[in-house]
Amino acid sequence: MTLLTVRDLTVDLPGAGRVLDGVSLDLSPGEVLGVVGESGAGKSVLARTLIGLTREDPRASVAASTLTFDGTDMTRAGRRAWRRLRGSEIGLVLQDALQSLDPLRTVSAEVGETLAVRRVARTERRQRIVTALHRAGLHDAEARLGQRSGELSGGMRQRVLVASALVGGARLVIADEPTTALDATVAARVLDLLRSLADDGAAVLLITHDLHAVRRVADRVAVLEAGRVVEDGSAAHVLAEPAHATTRALLDAVPRGPKPPLRPAHRPRTPILRADAVTRRYGHVTAVDDVSFSLEAGETLGVVGESGSGKSTLARLLIGAEHPDSGAVSRHGTPRVRLVPQDPLGSFDPRHSVGQILRLSHRDGAPSPEELLRRVELDARLLTRRPAQLSGGQRQRVAIARALAANPDVLVCDEPVSALDVTTQAGILDLLLGLQEREGLSMVFISHDLAVVRRISDRVAVMKDGQVVDSGNTEDVYANPASAFTRELISASR
Amino acid sequence: APSDGGGSPEPVSGGTLVYATGDAEPSCLDPHVGGNYPQGLLSTQYLEPLFGRDAEGEIVPWLAESGEASDDGLTWDIALRDDISFTDGTPFDAEAVKANIEHLQDPDTASSTGYLAVEQVDSVEVVDDSHVRLHLSTPKSAMLEVLSQQWAAMESPEGIARGNDENCQAPIGTGPFVVESWSPQESVTLTRNDDYVPTNPEIDHDGPAHVEQIEWRFIPDAATRQAALASGEVHVIDNPLPTDIAAADGQGFGHLDAPRPAASNRIELNTAQPPFDDDRVREAFLRAADPSPGIETLFAGTATRSFSVLSSEEPVRLSDEELFRTDADAANALLDEAGWTERTDSGTRMKDGETLTARFPVSTNQSTAAEQSLFEQIQANTAAVGFDLQLEPMDLSSWYGALAAHDYEAVSAPYTTVGPDVLRILYHSDSTVPAPSGYFANNAQLTDPDLDAFLEEALATTDPDERADLYTQAQRIILDTHAVLPLYDQQNHFLTNGVTGVTAIHTISTPTFVNAQLTE
């Protein structure tokens, strides 16, 4: 018996037109359905629609010939009926992990909300919250209960969200890119968690661009393109013998191998950015602990590491947005440094259109906004949209385009491709490599995705608890990891 | 709302009468200190003067038995009643009168109205317990009138001896009620004086007042007062709105109309500076003002147009309707003749580059809403012949400031006292000389030796007929200056609900509750 049946689901959104077009799906208990597709294909809208949220906007139109959950027809269900399902029957992990926690409420209040709605006793609640946080891969759950989203790293927020979606024991869990901000070890744990939920009888709908993840946990896979399901079948079958061009492209684009040798850049290899024993503390937490390195012109330093290990903090220190408690960051010459932030949405002025954003960041010698959008594979029609009207991957690419609009010498990228499907991701990586080759661009490239880092970095630094536990040439480190932690990461990403 | 229409309600004895006043709350309950109308209003219930007046305006004895002037007018012999005590037990006698007059004259008391009353008293001689003799520096025929004012009422010498600060909280008199307590901004509670000796000329029965207590509340807003009366929260209100007075009958409310004595309500033109230093311009103004139709609608028939500088309560008043007959053509001719022949775009007359402008400061505390509307109408009416009358509404302090600085060409300033001697206060040339505070009463700035002479003679003479004649002549002169535009008597209305027997005394027209009975 299927838990969820969808036939001919069509969604129109104001400003974007038809976003989903005749989508049909079935999902049974004990089953994991992977939904993949290019950025902007409509995956997140599908997730929001399945929990009845798109219909809350009076200007949106949602129609389906069949939409049943557990035998109940939801096409005509009222608000109350939908609400009964949410949280307790259907759990949703939203893609906007960095903005989806109420900044005024503590972790325990946010995770426990579903339980509170269902009037679970307070004592029991705490127990279940802690358990859920642990299952989502947050080790120091008890210590985090009283914190608020502003005090958490990106990956921590994402795990808190995952915990909040499954704490209620939902029979259908919809996870929209639940591992984008997670390092390989933790991502693996979260994926295993989803699998075990299904093994325990729940149905899981996993939206991801990570085909590796799909292969790991999904029973079946649906490929979405421009709002339509173009391919549908068992995961093993589809991934082994992709029928549709999009699927094939996705598979081909999975990053593999080392950084391709670049033709010698025309700049001399001189240090351009240095960190000398920088340390940054927040209260008791030492986010960055005595980190030193030097970045040379035209090279890429990859930074990988555990979630919450201080990568974003390091990025903020490097660009001067924060000051180290001790140690120093220095620049040599007057390089133009730009950041691609981990949370692009927050870094856009909500009143500016994409066009304005790009124009305002534009510096001499950089391409035009239209050209920049083209380079990051975005349609020029997006120029008039505001950030809130973009999909997660679209935002991320606008953030990259904005950084490139300054014609930078150094690019500090904080998880720049985490929300991108592999095809698009490959394009962006090629773009960056091309820039490095042609213009000697230097990069600090923060990512939890070891394959991506390997593909783009000359050298790599591995962080754990604020410290660099391993560093050296990328291939050396990958081949002979010095620390146990690095070994763990590498094995988890296989 | 409770209404006492229908069957005639039965008067009962006892109970608490609630009075709501719209006048300012006194800062001191002793009317000797300062001396304004609100103090007179309240103190009528617990303090009594030596003399009163009857309905015809004739002086009648109150705490005194009689008062006689010597032929030269320099001494006054006053016989006192000997059966009266203050409510603290102190007997009322000649020593008490002496103490009161000295209290009025003491600079520490800072009396102004009462001080003017006894200004000319050089010394007070105690002849015996029930006789005093006042020795005056100059004759004052108005002596008994001024002593009949509430601001010169008699207080217990023991009370006075407590000092101003204490005496202000609860002055001790001989009246039908006693000040019990005062919660500022809220109310003063008065209790019945059970040992009251009926001396009040208004009283209609023997023994103390009927009501046991008066709660004297301060409700500054007229609409609120009216609502409180309608809902039965209060029994008597003062300063009702004209429209409410007109409607009172239909609502079953009682109405007491007690115009204030002495001067009428009038607009005065400043003869000391342009443009009203020219008699023709003044006359043109009077001819153009045309307040009568406005008085009719604005006051809903509750006020009558006056053509005299004196109140209709004053027997010696001189009225001259013809002098104020509206005639726009005559006004235009007068102004042409006076040389105001050019016109601005807006129609204001001009002469030698000056516009025909008159500043008219209006005290929003003293002029009621209806009166301010009337001024606006006068402004519009006079504008038709080319005047630019600039109404300048302002608070009381600023208003006095404007007058003291002579920043006015027209003004309406109320003045309450008893008797025609008010003419001397308002129009004698001495009254153009400012007091230390800058105050002067002669707003028209009249300085006419003939007028001064008539007013001085009237004050000196002891012959009532001659006095009346002198005041008539004085009024003639004042009216002929065209510097005064009388409007109506100083309005003094009271509405009652659930109470009978409310009357006003005939000196300063304040209500007395000595006969009042609740009807519940």
């Binding site: 949703l92 120093a328 | 300062g34």
Partner: protein, 333 residues
């Protein structure tokens, strides 16, 4: 709380109190010189405007109030009075100002506190209605609510109160028009008169903030967890929406005290507002200064309270935003 946090809180409170003293000093100084610059206190002492007092009385007043001393000396005397909260005697009432203030403050405070509470209650009620009103009919209700807010926030108290009196006291006779201080029913109309415009204003402010918060992803997440509109409102969006309103509550309290003047005059209630109005009109300097200093102290207390409340509601405010200066990074040779 840990000792460290106690220490932080104590430092915060001490800082605020220090600031409060500064404010009171500034206010006192300002009012003293302003009133002096705008009129001679003699007139007020001599029984108000239009006084006909003679030379002797004038001299007596000058002696009593040290008016012949240089202004600086008088100012210092005034400061001493303020520091000891002894404001001397009222010019016109001749009573110690402290006694007057003590007599009038409680009634005004009661009025203001009740009105602020009612205003907040109405604001929250409006937000609740807004939250549950969904769909086509809901849209109408919400639009209606917005209009009511605007109308309420521009309702003149002197007029609105008069209408209330006319309807509920004169015509229906349900409530007393004026206040006998003992009767709680007499508080109803004044409190409503005072609260409605403030409620309109606070609703406007929080309504806008509510719409913003409602569009944020965290509200969507909360809905996805099965939270109903009421819960989303009470547990999430209202807190965000209340921030601007809380920060304005101090100001609202201020306008309550100004509004209290109108209401106290209209409903014939004794109170600080009326005392101040009368004193101001009579240029009774000691009373004005006393009242203003007390009001200043009250404001400061309210502002401290709202600041604390804001910090409580929004922990993010505990950090200062960085300045707008460009980042400084050492630039090597």
């Amino acid at each position: 709380m840990t000792p460290r946090r106690w220490a932080v809180s104590l430092r915060w409170i001490a800082g605020k109190l220090g600031a409060a003293i500064g404010v009171v000093w500034l206010v006192g100084t300002l009012v003293f010189f302003a009133l002096r610059a705008t009129g001679d206190p003699l007139e007020a002492i001599l029984g108000g405007p239009g006084s006909q007092a003679g030379e002797e009385a004038v001299q007596a007043a000058i002696d009593r109030y040290a008016l012949d001393e240089p202004l600086v000396v008088q100012y210092l005397l005034q400061l001493r009075d303020i520091a000891t909260l002894q404001f001397g005697d009222s010019y016109s009432r001749r009573l110690p100002v402290m006694d007057l203030l003590a007599a009038h403050l409680p009634s005004t405070l009661l009025l203001a506190v009740l009105a602020l509470a009612l205003a907040w209650a109405l604001t929250v009620a409006g937000a609740l209605v807004q939250a549950v009103a969904r769909g086509r009919l809901g849209a109408l209700v919400r639009a209606g609510l917005r209009s009511v807010e605007v109308v309420a926030s521009v309702a003149p108290q002197f007029w609105f109160g008069a209408v209330l009196i006319m309807v509920f006291a004169s015509s229906l006779g349900w409530l007393p028009a004026t206040s006998a201080s003992s009767d709680p029913a007499s508080l109803v109309l004044p409190v409503v008169t005072l609260a409605v415009p403030i409620a309109g204003f606070l609703s406007q402010v929080s309504h806008d903030a509510l719409d913003d918060a409602d569009a944020a992803p965290f509200a969507t997440t909360a809905r996805a967890r099965g939270a109903g509109e009421m819960r989303v409102l009470l547990r999430h969006t209202l807190r965000h929406a209340s921030l601007p309103a809380i920060s304005l509550s101090g100001w609202a309290f201020g306008s309550l005290l100004s509004g209290a003047v109108v209401v106290e005059v209209l409903f014939a209630r004794p109170g600080l507002g009326r005392l101040l109005q009368e004193a101001a009109l009579a240029r009774d300097v000691p009373v004005v200064i006393g009242a203003v200093v007390i009001v200043a102290l009250l404001y400061v207390a309210v502002v401290i309270a709202t600041d604390a409340l804001e910090l409580l509601v929004d922990p993010r405010l505990r950090r200062r935003p960085q300045s707008l200066r460009a980042p400084d990074v050492a630039v090597g040779a």
